[in-house]
């Protein structure tokens, strides 16, 4: 017992002294360490700015916090093969010109794993830092106006990075500049501007991520050889809010993704860029977006097949001047499932007997005059559509057609599902409303009947007593 007390006293003393001279303690340990050593950061708050200029491991004990005190960068890594693990890193400066970052790396093979970043301007900033592994971190931005925030994650000329199992929220962008061969897997991003933004970054694979409530989910620009699969893109609704945007992008496969409630599922601007390969958009589900897929007329050479288009307010939109050309809506005689398809399947092969085409007059007006969306859902909209159907003279040209529409939605194992919410609230609301209706009706039961009922009730009651 006494021995235990002595140990506690010593460790308390040690802790106290560490806290007393907090500034520089970890820095000195790093300076003293030899390449390959492990520097342990003990639990507690350490207000330090660190530079790591030799290969070593910086490992936080549970409760270890590096606090930047709202100024500058916090960790600057200039040597290769550094590992940073298990730390909470918080409170960088807010200087956008100096790009204050929690961790800035300018060397190869860094591993940044299982850290929590809080209240940081830039989270992880890789500059010419190839072969990095960034895994299991949680990166939360500063509570600032979006224009004054920094990027949760930024790669600059950092090839072959693996970015996996991270959560990024309330930042500006997660952005890849000139970084080839990056894999982005199983991350989650919400309340950012761009969930993921690629600039001039080729051969990137993005899979199994969830990007929700961002302004834009994933935006590809000037990049090529891209794979985007099994991601969930949900309610990305910024002023130009797309689930996925592609601009001047080449050779891409977008497959098995789920697009729900975005302003537009996919936005295609001048993609494919060189027309060397066809853009493939297959086996995705577009549900309840304002627009399923937006094509600018410059987007030519896409194959859109095997997708589900379910109750998007507008399934496909061709915006701007010009027509959709050189775009196929079927591959191997199988098209897409359209929730508004009106044909039937006579030979039971899953493909409708009539092609699906969109010739809606009101939609056509909307594509030309987006402000008329204000009149959406009104009966006048139906009236316009009806007139368009009834009078071929003013019927617009079909903006696209699917030669082999599917009559049943494609539900492949690869497609991620949305969790079903409970229907109890809805049932309760229904019962409540029915109750109010019935209550009002009961009010109207003539008083004479109620009198009679009351009297007979009273009679039985008194009868029972006597």
């Amino acid at each position: 017992m006494r021995r235990l007390n002595a140990i506690t006293a010593v460790s308390l003393l040690a802790a106290a002294s560490a806290f007393g001279q907090a500034a520089g303690t970890i820095g000195r340990r790093i300076a003293d360490a030899r390449p390959g050593d492990t520097v342990v950061v003990p639990a507690g708050v350490h207000r330090e700015h660190l530079r790591i200029d030799k290969p070593l491991k910086l490992v936080g004990e549970p409760g270890a916090i590096l606090d930047g005190g709202q100024s500058g960068d916090i960790i600057d890594v200039t040597a290769p093969d550094v590992e940073i693990r298990g730390l909470t890193i918080r409170a960088t400066g807010i200087d956008l010109d100096k790009e204050n970052a929690a961790v800035r790396v300018s060397a190869a093979r860094v591993r940044i794993e299982d850290n929590v970043f809080e209240d940081v301007l830039f989270g992880i900033d890789l500059k010419e830092a190839p072969d990095a592994i960034i895994r299991g971190n949680r990166i939360g931005g500063k509570d600032l106006d979006i224009a004054r925030r920094g990027d949760g994650l930024r790669l600059w000329r950092s090839n072959a990075a693996l970015i996996e199992n991270n959560v990024i929220h309330d930042g500006r962008d997660a952005i890849l500049w000139y970084s080839t061969g990056v894999v982005v897997r199983n991350n989650r991003s919400f309340r950012c501007r761009y969930g993921l933004h690629l600039m001039y970054s080729d051969s990137v694979t993005i899979e199994d991520n969830e990007l929700s409530e961002n302004s834009v989910g994933v935006y590809f620009m000037y990049s090529k050889d891209l794979t985007l699969r099994r991601n969930r893109l949900i309610r990305n609704r910024g002023p130009s809010g797309y689930g996925v945007g592609l601009k001047d992008t080449d050779s891409y496969r977008v497959e098995h993704n789920l697009f729900v409630g975005n302003r537009a599922g996919i936005y295609l601007d001048d993609s494919p860029f060189t027309h060397a390969t066809r853009g493939e958009i297959r086996a995705n589900t577009f549900g309840y977006n304002d627009v399923g897929v937006i094509f600018l007329p410059s987007a030519r050479g896409n194959v859109v097949s095997g997708n589900n288009f379910i109750d998007n307010l507008e399934q496909v939109s061709v915006q701007g001047r010009g027509e959709l050309r050189d775009t196929e809506f079927a591959a191997n005689d199988r098209g897409n499932f359209w929730s508004d398809y009106v044909g039937y399947d006579l030979d039971n092969n899953g493909v409708g007997e009539f092609e699906h085409e969109s010739q809606r007059l009101f939609e056509n007006l909307l594509d030309r005059e987006p402000k008329l969306r204000l009149l959406l859902f009104s009966p006048a909209q139906q009236a316009v559509e009806f007139v368009g159907r009834a009078l071929p003279a003013i019927r617009p040209e079909p903006k696209f057609f699917d030669p082999a529409p599917l009559v049943r939605p494609v539900s492949e194992a690869g497609a991620p599902r949305n969790q079903a919410a409970s229907a109890w609230g809805l049932a309760l609301a229904g019962v409540g409303m029915l109750g109010v209706g019935a209550g009002v009706l009961a009010l109207a039961v003539p008083i004479r009947i109620r009198h009679a009922a009351g009297a007979s009730l009273a009679a039985t009651a008194t009868g029972g007593v006597s």
Binding site: D311, L374, A427, A429, A444
Partner: protein, 290 residues
Amino acid sequence: MITLAVQHAPPRVNTMWRSTGILALRELREAIASRWFLLYTIAFVALGLGVSYVSAAGTGSLGLSGFGRTTAGLINLVLLVVPLMALTAGAGTIASDRERGMLPYLLAQPINRFELLLGKFVGLSLALLACICLGLGGCAAILAWKGETTDPASLVWLAGLSFGLAVCMLSVGMLVSVLARKASVAVGTAVFLWLVLVFVTDLGLMAGALAFRLKIETLFFLCLGNPLQVFKMWTLHEAEASLDVLGPAGLYASDTYGGGLRWMFAGAMAAWTVLPLAAAGILFSRRSPV
């Protein structure tokens, strides 16, 4: 229990409210006994159930949810049916009493004309409330049964605002009723007004927006003038938290006014209720009952 409460209530607590209440109950009873109420309720419930059933049928397997065909379909249904119901109910009431010679009899009772008008208004409002609640409650039940995940709160808002729209249109209908000499003329006028509010104004706005290149803010404020559009925008505002689904004009409205939109919508609906009803009251007190 209720009977007892009525029997033991002290008489003439407040004569005006009491007579209004009695008139309202009479009107409610009459409305529910009449064919129009039965017909509209059946139609509304059947169409609502149809919309819910169809919209829930296709998509359940994928477990998707969002602002989809369900809410859009129900908004559309309400926009078509509720104004027609409320306008014709309001238009029929005074005019038919006058035509049947009931009006002098009613006015011979110790009540004034405002009480009569208000009583009818409250009674018919209650009848419309019952109709809307039965219709949309049935929809909610069907959707829950089909495993649809529409947000219950937005459905309750939809019901409440449908009632608001019904009250606006009832008020307009009663103004028509006070003005018209014959019940048939009143109902005909009401149907014409319905046509104007549902189709003509919106089509006019569309044409105007295209022809005069209206600015989005102008378009928005013009829409605020139509109670049907106010109902629609308010429902979307509550269901979606933003009008961005209505394109640039909606985004403009949400960004500029934000939470103030609710008050703007409420103001527009209140104006459409109070002004026609007040006009009806003034005109009614000046006109001969025969």
